[in-house]
Symmetry: C2
Subunit: 314 residues, 2 copies
């Protein structure tokens, strides 16, 4: 993939003098104005971001020293904050600076970088969310994979769960959120079915999304992905752009669970791993087992990480 | 209501020597084996209880120095822990002791006492929940009201939201959980409609539950409350028991939104406030405005707090 570039030197004010670099290698977080080692990063138990999961977040990744599509992630994050009736006292430039400082503190060339806005703590004994001062947290940790490159090579086994993804009539999925109990239940189901991952369905048995990933199928020259009830993933968006570059037709439409059995190829997308081919669905090989178009898309995806139009140095 | 009883003396080992009682008056929490003032109580940002809202909890209250139905709350909590494939290293007796220590540290006679089990932090860079050591937290803060006694006297205004409560096909509502973004959206809708509270509906426009409360209607001699898709509230259970004592018929069944307009009385139940009469629904007075049966139930509810079969000293 890309060459490793040296990161900018860590500015001394970014860490307490008594903290050694090794404590930051596992990750760094921005909490209440300070950059601290991830092992020491704590949030108030009374923050409704925890007690009501009243929060939105976004994850951008750093690959070989460069943020990938940071502006897209910031756009989505700030839209989510607004949709939840929250406001932050930080400017977009200040957030960008905080994220970069977290990454630099770790010294990581490849990182998983999360920004979070929570409701905060209500005034006194109130139960009124309007009394809260909203809070911003961030952290950078080593890059994390929904399925590692080795698992991708050996073949990712997907299970179609009977658990329904939380409906958009309840929670707007375009606001990236921590409501994962359905996804966690699906994940335990995957283990029970000897699969790596589960994809959840809607009430009509259309596949929707899984724990941190969107899903696509390829049939002939057409790439299809669910268009509603899903997070509008940045990797999903990139995959659609790249598919059009390969002169594939791209459709956003409901995809029934049974279509996975008939597809030529199936793949998933996530900031945590990019474009990842699915080898089998509920024990049945996908298509003929060839993943030509998916692997082409995956190669283009990683090549795009050095494109200055899509990436920038930390 | 009840006389104030003196609480047992606070044992000195329950707090750090440099911490003054006044710091504990706002609340106390159990974190990693220590009892700390609520203002200092923090959890790791990496705990999936926060990052995936992968957690269950329960709230028991203390009234005039006595826990109310603590065994019921512990039963529900431990069932939720098990349903989420979590295990705790603490025994039921140890949890009971921790909750009491939190309350005693605050010196509060009337308290809102929360116990929490989170997934914890995965090992290394894993995304597998089975690698987590599950964590137990608890805290006690001053008693909190969904609607204060003064608001109840002036009349609680309820709004029927169009937001759908997260479906039981997605998240089991009998596992008390922090998936509140639908409830928070409903709460902002209530403010927009000049109401105190919102109740959410299901896909068929049946009322389900609101932010921390169950709902009931009374028509003639019959008390009805939704039987599925709701938290099995302990106050809900108490209200049903008391209604039967008053020789009312009690039904658990789907309750359509339009039935609230035709009901004689409407009330809500919560550990945070008990049995609370609703004065109006979407601007329309409930029934004739009389709340005779609800006020009778409310009086019985508070009387039950000194019943040794239902309560115990902290």
């Amino acid at each position: 993939m890309q060459n490793q570039e040296p990161l900018s030197a860590i500015r001394p004010e970014q860490r307490a003098p008594e903290t050694s670099q090794s404590e930051f290698n596992a990750g760094a977080a921005y909490i209440d104005g300070n950059i601290v080692p991830i092992s020491e990063a704590r949030i108030p138990i009374m923050d409704w971001g925890f007690l009501h999961s009243d929060a939105t977040y976004d994850v951008v990744h750093v690959w070989d020293g460069r943020f990938f599509r940071l502006n897209d992630h910031l756009d989505r994050f700030m839209t989510g904050v607004q949709k939840l009736n929250m406001t932050l006292e930080l400017s977009r430039e200040e957030m960008r600076d905080i994220l970069a400082r977290c990454v630099r503190a770790t010294g990581l060339q490849r990182a998983y970088v999360e920004m979070i806005c929570t409701r905060g703590i209500p005034a006194g004994n109130s139960r009124d969310p309007r009394t809260c001062r909203n809070r911003f947290y961030a952290f950078a940790i080593p890059f994390s994979w929904v399925a590692t490159p080795e698992e991708q090579d050996r073949g990712i086994r997907l299970h179609i769960s009977e658990v329904q993804r939380i409906s958009p009539q309840s929670v707007d999925p375009t606001i990236k959120n921590y409501h994962w109990l359905d996804l966690v239940k699906g994940q335990f189901e995957a283990y029970a079915f000897n699969a790596h991952l589960s994809v959840l369905v809607d009430a009509g048995k259309h596949v929707v999304e899984g724990a941190g990933f969107n899903i696509f199928i390829i049939k002939g020259n057409t790439v299809s992905t669910p268009g509603t009830g899903v997070l509008e993933g940045i990797t999903r968006k990139t995959a659609m752009e790249l598919a059009r570059q390969l002169n594939l037709d791209v459709e956003e439409r409901p995809v029934h669970a049974r279509e996975l059995a008939e597809a030529d190829e199936v793949f998933i997308t996530s900031t945590a791993g990019g474009i990842m081919p699915i080898h089998s669905v509920d024990g049945k090989l996908v298509g003929s087992g060839r993943q030509d178009k998916t692997l082409q898309l995956r190669a283009l995806y990683w090549e795009a990480h050095s494109d200055p139009a899509l990436s920038e140095p930390v």
